[in-house]
Symmetry: C2
Subunit: 720 residues, 2 copies
């Protein structure tokens, strides 16, 4: 599926797919309940399709008073359907696709199932469909999917009987692979979240989730995109589409299915998607400005906020309610989520104090007390005061309980106030009873959050997207978009430590002085030439884990000691690995005492290209998994942001009154490493530098160990 | 508020409070909408109170056809109300309480507000009420609270107009401080969770949340308790009540308000509760078997599971649904929550395979595909097969979408099947549309979880409580329950390192051999006597942070070197701290190389008593906060469990092929330390041992540094 040519992804215009001028329905039926009948009903009875509609069914001359043709090729010569909806049984699909291609249909939606999801045979038929379509310049949608719902135009290219029920319009677009969870999002309309359209791409024989994200990124009335993916098939396409959306301020909320061991297994049996390592996927999503969530309701939460306002990232929040307990709970959850409460101006507090009882709280949260139930005018005066405070960007309205009509009345008041207040008012509806007040908020499109926790998480993600927009959106494209995924490698070749370090040294990266000693005498000479103390390390491409076989000795100061160490190391290595090719022993100057050990690693992910991982070495990486990841290229400024996000960051900066380490040097080092990988095109498979010694401030960094693996295409890549 | 006598907490029988034989309503009114009127309405119109009811209001001879008396003391001589509900305005409350005491009322519920929550004056009146009640053997409930709702008996001692709306009976009891969040829980009845009673204790002038938890722990029809606390006033009471519930299999779900900086501030302005450090509170809750949650909906989730079954802790779960995507998502979330999916028996898979389409998934999750919509009989056969698998303890039923009547029909089928299946079937209702199917589940008391994430978190907590029941429920009472909180200390006295170590050594704890050298010559002698290498450390009660002033020298091997080091240390200390009392220099044998440094610390929390903290030293504690905490006493087995739960546990056990450290020795050490603290009664304020050297397996542990602080009551505590 990979675009091997290294060309940037190209996206077709999909406007005609979402708003067709003329449709042919292949497999139309008058048998109630059948798929052909349901699809027809959605087009002619439940929706508002105003274009030409042609029906195809060889068994009928007419269906529901409309003429019916035996096949697409038998349509009248002046018929020019741009979109075909194919709902015939699996075995008849291929012929129908061929007919559509012959009649220059631009998009064929195959809703029928029984293909790739059932195994090898089905995948082969999908490949045939794709060939037919490609040859004719036709694009395929599906198979094995419920189709498209264009909410804005009330147009359903779908057999789903639920189509007419889930049509709340609004600025959020939805692109999913699976059907049920996609419709789940549309049912978020119940809560007030509105949608432009939903595309559900099923087996993705041709068009993918990425194509729909890219389409939505071009729509002026789309403010955000929600997507559910089981696996990303084409990394460059996905990244390009995602950036088109996120850079334009259209935040993407994404739920990845198959993140845990169980989920991977379940997703595999569901759609045979390949789900990559969860931490790699998550790093890529974060890099692209995508808000990754953990559950479907969190997608709607995120979409609801993006629909209300584009974040800057420095917004501060106010909490305003009549239950002190609920206010405190919301404040608690915001604090735990890292969302900041606004510090109210003295004037604001005075205005609140003047209008509220003495035992009300006029800080932030503002606890009006239940006086608002008996004197609702208080709400107007105090909420306006709060919203006029320049420190406040958004106001949360916690509702702990449903009091029926009384709650409905306060909700209506908030809806009216929202019309006068240019900052989002976001209800937090914590009661299990979704009564009148809830419905008032939902109908007004104010999309109540369903718990304090949900509000906290959604705000944290919304703010993070704002910070990405402010700092990262203008950064260079990931290397993958520039280089493509590259050709298949013939083989992967591991360099010896000496070779790897030579490659790094040549690129100007700091590697300690060293010599390869092929005899005890050369080792002794090396000590004098390089300067003590030195480390001696077995040099063999067949022994990657040197310490395990006693292949490393440290702190050798005298030439005579180096001679003896050479003997021990080589004898030990020959005993432990009789078949290993032994090139000698690397004699290397040791870094001064007082540094910190870090790990810096670049790996090529087959889907997403080069990712750089950075963290403190040892237990920090192994047990605490305290690492930061980003797609290449990474410059020094970005490396600094990555390091600052580590839990171990205070160690680097200098904890407990210590002076700290050369973070600047490390950041410049990361930038150089990134440039080195870019300069090699697709030539690098992996560079793992562990440890990298980071000296005290100003003392620089040194690569103490290097494992480099190259991709062999035939001739070795440049630089060697 | 502390019970200073060291007696175990005593709890009054509260049966009469929850089911009174005779009630007097002080402040009854016939003015519609008034508090007195609403409370009366709840008693006589909305509820089912069948006992004697007396009304008190000096302005009326009769209210709503019932006789009315001017005061409680004016009631006829044969009137014997056991419970008084006081709803008169704040200033009249104290007199009413006095009258109740005079007439031997057993419980006075003060619903009126305007006391402690308004400041110092209000708190003083509360203290007066308490005195009056205590003198008469009467217990107070409130003030500033909505009262009691006895759901089971449809009895409302409350002014809340929502009383008749939230009365779904069931096995869960609720005890809260605040009112709104308590009612929020009762509205969980909307989802199918049923309740026995709700007590909301307001300002807790006398009766506290702990009293109600203890009461509920004695009710045969209570299976679990949900509680919301802003601050625990009396640690021993709370702990005793909680253990009464959790040890009896009545799981407690608890939400603590005021955990973040913001929440603390908000809670303080709300009820002036003191909220202790969040990590101490959480450690105590976990120790007592309480499931601490992060939001109110999670309380209902936990309650719903506890209502269905008492956990063993080793339950494994099956997922059964018709949407592959929803099944995979639920599996994912379970995996992330640490909940295990059951491995199905081959026979189970065969039965599933025989009845399901070829492309269905018959592992776990079981994805039936949407065939169940057209052939619902499939549900019966396959779900019964799944539920009969002995590996399966509970089945989750994910519903991604609401399909109206069709979904309702499947829900009814599951409800019928639940009657035949002895394992809980738990719906996971992921749609925002709570349609017919949702209502069917809720009415049947199957309490759908509202998201995959909620289900995962609730199951994880339910299982954790099961493991606590299996391993911890039978453990000894926390020291606090045995010793009480103790008298107020006159002062806290810090011991010097030498004094602290002497105390430890006397109790048999392993402290390296050492001598206090008061001259350079004594230092030199000490090296010979103790054996090299040694550490020299300044000995001064006024210099707790020795390294900061150069007060520590390590690795001294020769007597002559010790002499010089003594001079340097003492001179440096005199320069840095001219006023410090210098007792000399401690000369101590150094631990062998190759150990690991740990932190072991016991601190006395003023509310909850002694807590032991254990973790690996350095960054593990400071940056990663990777520590385990428990209430004393801690024996070796429990210490082992604590250590096993650390993220750094693999380091102790021996990561990367290393031999590992003396975990057994460390556990025995912890047990001895626990015994030492217990033997000192209330005498210890804090013992911080950092680092404790833990040697290789079998090599034992040694206390390298010790900071001990004692509580002075006058005479020094024993052992010194």
């Amino acid at each position: 599926m990979h675009d091997a040519g290294g060309m940037p992804p190209v996206f077709d215009d999909l406007d005609e797919l979402f708003s067709p001028r003329a449709i042919v329905l292949v497999g139309a039926s008058d048998r109630p309940g059948s798929i052909g009948w349901r699809t027809l009903e959605n087009l002619v009875s439940h929706g508002e399709f105003r274009g030409e509609l042609y029906l195809v069914n060889p068994a009928h001359g007419e269906i529901a008073g409309r003429p019916c043709w035996p096949s697409v090729v038998a349509l009248p010569p002046d018929a020019a359907p741009t979109v075909a909806i194919i709902v015939v049984p699996g075995p008849a699909v291929l012929e129908a696709v061929g007919h559509c291609a012959a009649r220059r249909v631009r998009f064929a939606l195959v809703l029928s199932a029984g293909f790739g999801e059932e195994g090898e045979h089905g995948r082969a038929i999908e490949a045939q469909m794709r060939e037919i379509a490609r040859a004719a310049g036709m694009r395929l949608y599906g198979p094995n999917c419920p189709g498209i719902v264009n909410v804005k135009e009330r147009l359903g290219l779908t057999f789903s009987p639920a189509f007419p029920d889930d049509l709340r319009p609004g600025p959020i677009a939805v692109a999913t692979q699976g059907g049920a969870l996609g419709r789940n999002l549309l049912q978020g309309g119940e809560r007030g979240c509105g949608f432009t359209a939903w595309a559900s791409s099923g087996n993705e024989a041709d068009l993918q989730v990425a194509d729909f994200i890219h389409h939505f990124a071009r729509q002026p009335d789309v403010r955000g995109v929600l997507t559910l993916v089981e696996g990303v098939k084409d990394g460059p396409r996905f990244a390009a589409a995602a950036l088109a959306a996120t850079r334009s301020g259209r935040g993407i909320g994404l739920l990845k299915i198959g993140r845990s061991e169980y989920g991977v297994r379940a997703a595999a049996s569901h759609t045979a998607s390949i789900t990559g390592p969860a931490d790699i996927n998550s790093a890529v999503f974060a890099h692209l400005g995508i808000a990754e969530v953990d559950d479907v309701d969190e997608l709607v939460d995120f979409g609801a906020l993006i629909a209300r306002a584009r974040p800057r990232g420095d917004e501060k929040v106010a909490v305003f309610g009549s239950s002190g307990g609920a206010c405190a709970l919301v404040a608690d959850v915001l604090g735990a989520s890292g969302v900041e409460l606004a510090e109210l101006a003295p004037g604001t507090r005075e205005r609140l104090r003047a209008r509220l009882p003495s035992y009300a709280a006029v800080g932030n949260p503002v606890d009006t007390t239940t006086i608002t139930l008996t004197d609702p005018g208080v709400i107007d005066d105090t909420l306006l005061a709060l919203a006029e405070d320049p420190a406040v960007s958004l106001v949360l309205l916690p509702y702990a309980i449903d009091y029926g009509a009384a709650t409905g009345a306060t909700a209506r008041r908030y809806v009216e106030l929202q019309a006068r207040i240019p900052k989002p008012l976001v209800p937090v509806w914590m009661s299990e009873r979704a009564g009148e007040g809830y419905r008032v908020f939902a109908e007004a499109g104010m999309t109540p959050m369903r718990s304090a926790r949900s509000a906290g998480r959604a705000l944290a993600r919304w703010l993070a997207y704002g910070r990405w927009l402010a700092r990262r959106a203008s950064r260079p494209d990931p290397l993958l978009l520039v280089q493509g995924v590259g050709p298949e490698a013939r083989a992967i070749r591991a360099l010896s430590e000496a070779e790897g370090k030579a490659l790094l040294r040549k690129a100007g990266l700091p590697v300690p002085p060293s010599r390869l000693a092929t005899s005890p005498g050369e080792a002794a000479e090396a000590v004098s030439a390089i300067g003590a103390p030195v480390a001696l390390k077995i040099a063999s491409p067949d022994i990657p884990h040197k310490t395990e076989i006693g292949g490393v000795e440290l702190g050798i100061a005298a030439p005579q000691a180096a001679r003896a160490a050479w003997e021990r190391i080589v004898t030990g290595a020959r005993d432990a690995r009789p078949d290993a090719r032994i090139e000698g022993v690397l004699v290397e100057r040791m870094a001064p005492a007082g540094g910190l050990e870090c790990l810096v690693c670049v790996r090529r992910d087959p889907v997403f290209g080069y990712l750089l991982t950075i963290g403190l070495g040892g237990v920090h990486v192994e047990l605490m998994r305290d690492v930061a990841r980003a797609m290449l290229p990474v410059d020094a400024r970005m490396a600094e942001e990555m390091l600052a996000g580590l839990r171990a960051a205070p160690l680097l900066a200098g904890a407990r009154g210590q002076a700290g380490y050369d973070v600047d040097g490390l950041c410049r080092f990361v930038e150089s490493l990134s440039a080195l990988v870019a300069a090699h095109g697709h030539g690098i498979e992996e560079i793992e530098l562990n440890p990298v010694w980071v000296g005290p401030k100003g003392a620089g960094v040194q690569v103490l160990d290097a494992a480099v693996r190259l991709r062999d295409y035939g001739p070795a890549p440049g630089g060697e």
